[in-house]
Symmetry: C2
Subunit: 331 residues, 2 copies
């Protein structure tokens, strides 16, 4: 398994990426290799001296340029062929890598995935899947922001993509699919939700119905589908609520001299535990990380990439999405 | 100030409502009267013996019927003229009360507000405003679920309604209006957000631009406008995140014997502090409470109703919304 890692993506690049990569190598199977993509000299400066790491499993691929967060993604991808994102994605396109992981501009990773890897047949709009912490095991929410103004059939595609991811990477058997909505009854919701509900009910997937905002965190479903607008709002809100609460608590814990171990309590809310968010539905493995990723988050994202490759997730998706809709039991 | 209170709305009705009403009376100005609307005998059974409360400020208005949460709102309102919601709303329509507060079916309170009070001229769709806790003072989000599939001009109306509420009831001067969106730049968002951004920028309101999920909790704005679908998802999600976190912490606090005062830390997240959510844009004061409201939440909702009446909020809204759009500075 060869994973290309954009070494220039995080706020602490390339040190964070190099640290995450070395940590991943010590955990992942010995056949995993990591290609560090970015400024050769700066990456080299972060690597330990020779002998201090498994040199045979690390390779630097020089990329002189870098796409910044503010740049319009599609334009940046076209104009910066030497950027770490484009160089790294090309490694996968050309068969020199099996996966690409980046904490750089989400828009640019998406654009380069669409341009270079291309969507799989049967997928109109690849979606970003992200793990939401719940009281139980995490739920996969998609789309977390790759698309807006989704049509009902896109939500069904998201459900199919998410079902495969939940099976192959999250170990869920017959994953429960929920539709994010504002009421439990099928007749609740906006036009999109009403139509998507009908399609999902007839999809052959394990559709459990509508899931409200309050049900998510109770672990009501394994796969939660929604348009990328509401998904993105929700994701960013969740991240910020957790951090506000920890901030409030930290003050109080210090003031009272309490021995409460906040890290332990909030491990469940810690995004870095979950690693990156896959862009599902493209012909390849493309994992998007937060710009504020820690080495642990990078390590976990590399783990996700490795499992996606090993489970042949992409072939699995291609098979399921290209297949004609299964006949109904009555047919 | 005469406030009609649906005494049959909460899960603990009518005891919760009666307790909340008596608590409000001891806090609010002596000219505030409360009309308890519901089953006469059951309400009477909850009241203290004669002399134990300010009898001159409490009146029972008998309503033999009750609308249940699952009932289709519009039908229920038509078919149950003797329900506490319809009887209470009629008191306001007929000038026997200045406001109505209910923790019953949100849909039925909305439907009866629209049928009996009617929307104000210039308001296409009344919206539910709800206070979101933030690191600073709370923000008013609307619409929290009265409407779905909003058009751009509706979001501008929500912004006008919210601005007046923030001025009159929240004490904000020149309230900052934000548009809930998935990026800061004006060219980010779905079709609705893109068009609403343009209209808001030209509205003459104090529009500060797009607000992302992560900015809400930092107190980025006083008034946050969005379609009721995303607003409702967000609100329910927020309520549930807070309760999950408190649940996680409580376990840990007990395990460690910590002296952390959770109530104190999370007062900021406690919805009952904020009382009810106003339905803004109707010709009257209609305050919607959570079905799980405590006496404290009812008390605070009665306080909101009293302040809305006293500040002549409805007349203020009527004046502003009926007024032609102010000419641009260049005109």
């Amino acid at each position: 398994v060869r994973i290309a890692l954009d070494a220039m993506g995080t706020d602490g690049a390339p040190g964070t990426e190099v640290a995450g990569a070395l940590s991943a190598l010590s955990e992942l199977d010995p056949d995993v290799e990591i290609l560090l993509v970015g400024d050769r000299d700066r990456i080299r400066a972060e690597l330990p001296p020779s002998g201090g790491y498994p040199e045979g499993r690390v390779r630097i691929v020089h990329a002189p340029d870098r796409i910044l967060t503010g740049e319009p993604p599609a334009t940046a991808v076209r104009r910066k062929p030497g950027s770490s994102i484009v160089v790294g994605m090309r490694l996968q396109k050309n068969g020199e890598a099996d996966a690409f992981v980046s904490a750089g501009s989400t828009g640019a990773v998406m654009a380069s995935s669409l341009f270079l890897l291309r969507p799989l047949p049967g997928v109109d709009r690849p979606a970003i899947g992200t793990l939401l912490p719940t009281a139980g095991p995490p739920a996969l929410m998609l789309d977390a922001g790759a698309n807006v103004d989704s049509k009902p059939q896109h939500l069904v595609q998201f459900a199919r993509l998410g079902t495969i991811y939940a099976q192959d990477l999250m170990g869920r058997v017959n994953p429960r699919v929920g539709l994010l909505n504002i009421g439990e009854e099928p007749e609740k919701g906006d036009e999109l939700a009403l139509a998507a509900h009908q399609l999902l009910a007839a999809s052959g997937l394990n559709f459990i119905g509508n899931v409200e905002g309050r049900d998510i965190i109770q672990g009501a479903c394994d796969v939660l589908v929604c348009d990328g607008f509401v998904g993105n709002v929700l994701l960013k809100f969740y991240e910020s609520v957790a951090s506000l609460i920890i901030q409030l608590l930290r003050k109080e814990v210090q003031a009272t001299g309490s021995e409460l171990d906040l890290e332990e309590v909030f491990r469940v809310l810690d995004y870095s535990e979950y690693g990156g968010a896959p862009l599902l539905g493209v012909n390849g493995v493309s994992i998007i990380c937060h710009g504020q990723s820690t080495p642990k988050a990078i390590r976990n994202a590399l783990g996700v990439a490795s499992r996606a490759v090993r489970s042949s997730m992409v072939a699995h998706i291609a098979r399921e999405l290209a297949a004609p809709t299964p006949p109904s039991p009555e047919a």
